[in-house]
Amino acid sequence: MAMRKIYLDNSATTRVDDEVVGEMLPFFTEQFGNASSTHQWGQQAKQAIEEARNQVARLLNGTPNEITFVSGGTEADNLAIVGIAEAHGDKGRHIITSRIEHPAVLATCAHLEKEGWKVTYLPVYGEGIVRLDDLRKAMTDETVLITIMHSNNELGTLQPIREIGELVREQREAGRRHLYFHTDAVQSIGKVDVDVRELGVDLLSLTAHKFHGPKGIGVLYVRRGVRISPQTYGGHHERDRRAGTESVPLIAGIGKAAELARLHLAERSGHLRNLRDYLEQELFRIIPDITRNGDAERRLPSIANLNFDHVEGEGLQISLDLKGVAVSTGSACSSGSTEPSHVLVAIGLSQDTGHGSLRFSFGKDNTREDVDYVLETLPAIVGKLRSLSPRAVKKSKLEAGA
């Protein structure tokens, strides 16, 4: 069998769509103006940016002036959290988040803790989902910001954002005027519907490279009327929210990617679910001692996070890589570390079992043949690594003896 190349790590990043590349290209060499310039080159650039802003607004069901372009999901999360903290810290200094947020949120919260903020990290239990009751109990008159991700990047678990949005609305009506709600929707875009009005969020982060757009461009949605403190100082770009010459090609790219994500949502979502469910079903059938991490229902259609008893995830991942298959253990950000992922620890996996987890994440370009190849390849790999494992060997001896 010839060596294939199969990319099943679409939660880490995705291939840029050819249509998106086509949209970007003219802005490198033809319409290369600076959007702040008043001549024709500048005006072309500006127009491209405003068109992209419209496309993103439509994807989210927001309005164009609620869209701020930034350099990616990390900057969007930072700007949302520190931007609210600085603008409204006089009303209280408490933030509520969860234990399974992305490092872009957790490290920002940790930074604010050093500056005297109090941060509550909500538990997520075995299912990997925060509970409204916990959130309700955590809220105080000091709470200025709730930041809970729309879906988790390792497990794919969907958080109850709409319900939290309602709770926030109630609290505001009950007098807690200075309560803001941010969600990191980086993983959800293009996989499930994300509608800022329906969710009732004040701020929302996304990044193009997770939905077939380019790396280096993201968006912070800020609901009309919500004030944040800018975190970069310079020219008057992005209505004074984010200084720096706009990357016109990348912005044109995220605009196009947003349009495609909106137009093809149902179809892509169904395709991802089919592939993911097929993989899980067959793996459960042919490899013993596998468990699923996180809730089986309330999750993205694109992610399967599975635990293989008695083996180490990295050995599986590298062995698959040698067969041409890209998957990940934990998130890309924490790779190279020897600690199990904070997300797997949060759902109660021990250091030992947490190390045996793999994340398969599907993208629109994957096929059923890709899954078939994994199904042919993976059992032998698991078998080999288990034959090395003291615990697995002991277990199989016991079973043979029984």
Binding site: G315, S319, T338, D352, P390
Partner: protein, 118 residues
Amino acid sequence: MYSAKVLEHLENPRNVGEIENASAIGKSTNPVCGDMLQLYLRLRDGRIESAGFLVQGCPPSIAAGSVLTELVTGMSVEDAGRMAPRDITTALESLPRNKEHCSVLAIDALRDALKLTP
């Protein structure tokens, strides 16, 4: 990221498994990452006649166990007692900086088997 040698041992680990009638058994665990390695040796006339290993750990720890069994087979117990983590790293061409401790895991098991203080 990993050397060709590490990857080769990961794909084809040598001397996998317990040895029947092992004359010495060594175990080691790294408390940080939780990885553990077991080494089985059959000794005859002050030499290591054959070796086997089991490991639950990262790719470098698998490669380290595998290459260790190769290196020590045929070696005098005395020479084996002088082996150090460097010898493993060298035999594997190289290890990433944050994975150098995996060679220690293998040597610790060897020293445990030979009843040397680690």
